[in-house]
Symmetry: C2
Subunit: 221 residues, 2 copies
């Protein structure tokens, strides 16, 4: 399974709020400049009122949850999974199947900040994560131009019937907390549109189910 | 499904290291006393060398991951799940099925610190989490005295065959990062011992699989 977490709410603090007290205090405490730290609603909430589309921004925890669910799965451990994080600003993080993502959130945030500063982590040797500028259409084209997507508009289908398809698919899941894809074509042009259950689930829940189904199909569970 | 996360690596900073610089600095930064903050390997690593059994302590992130996986599942949303966190010091946290656990790790830590200070959160109204002194044997007895446990000694069985049992069981999973249950009877006296895959998985992964299997059995997926 190739996972693409799309339009993820992951970005460095944008210039408009570098001088906001909530941002300055956080940056100072961590010995970094405002433009070097990740935007995080839990820390920068008062500053985020000044940002457009704020409801869908500043949630590195979503990316963290998803990567923990994916990278520590049997699927990833057996080399049957690979994850790409696409961000709302059109960066892509390619995650090595071998990457042991920090389980502690604050350590994860520091790692991603280093990634934005250096373009890859660790700085030397085989990179575990690499950062590129790339839009979603280009990424999906490079991955073969055919993908499945989880979206509430999809037809419900028993999870057990999705596994073998998911195992060999490029699977797109939204990495934002609210609303819908801004790239509406992601759903319209998808080869398959899946939905799970009768209500919207968060991204990590969707990935836990999708990965489990693929693991069952691969005979791992 | 009733989930019991057992011997979880969750505790306040113990007295022996209240005066360690790593602890004092963290407490001061957060405006709390050393005995009011959670022990966290990511922050207190240098101090933890002084603690017995340190390898199995100071991992609130495990509890956080597990509660996110459990509380935001369809199972919990439909009222078919209830979680209890048992700690290595024999505290028990009873989590309301309605509790929306903070998704941000630092907010979660602050909430659990408030829980240790007050015995319940929120302080007023219907509690979403309550804290008691209770050992694992008493908790399991009160929950009916019959339980299943996930443990590497268990027989492998396809996940799809576990679901309907899991759905109506008290399910015990270890909440510690390394090693085995100290309460060895938890495995010896279990009604069923399950294992998943061929290698050890972290607690959140096990719960993701177990919950998914139960959701399928309940017709939710």
């Amino acid at each position: 399974m190739i996972l693409v977490l799309a339009e993820s709410a992951l970005e460095l603090v944008p210039k408009e709020i570098w001088n906001h007290p909530a941002v300055l205090a956080d940056a100072r405490r961590r010995g970094k400049r405002p433009g070097e730290i990740l935007l995080d609603r839990a820390r920068h909430h008062p500053a985020m009122r000044l940002l457009a589309d704020a409801k869908r921004r500043g949630r590195p925890d979503i990316v963290h949850q998803v990567l923990l669910a994916f990278q520590y799965s049997l699927l990833a451990k057996r080399g049957l999974g690979k994850a790409y994080i696409h961000t709302r600003d059109d960066y892509v993080i390619a995650v090595s199947p071998e990457a042991r993502v920090p389980k502690n959130y604050n350590n994860f945030v520091a790692l991603i900040e280093q990634l934005f500063a250096l373009g890859k982590v660790p700085p030397k040797g085989e990179p575990l994560m690499e950062l590129y500028r790339k839009d979603l259409a280009t990424l999906l084209q490079e991955l073969g131009g055919v993908w499945a997507v989880f979206h509430e508009s999809g037809a419900r289908k028993p999870l057990s019937q999705m596994g073998s398809e998911l195992l060999k698919s490029v699977v797109v899941v939204g990495g934002f907390p609210h609303g819908d894809f801004q790239n509406k074509w992601v759903v319209e042009k998808a080869a398959v549109v899946y939905s799970l259950g009768e209500e919207s689930l968060d991204a990590a829940q969707v990935i836990c189910k999708a990965v489990t189904a693929a693991e069952v199909a691969a005979g791992l569970l």
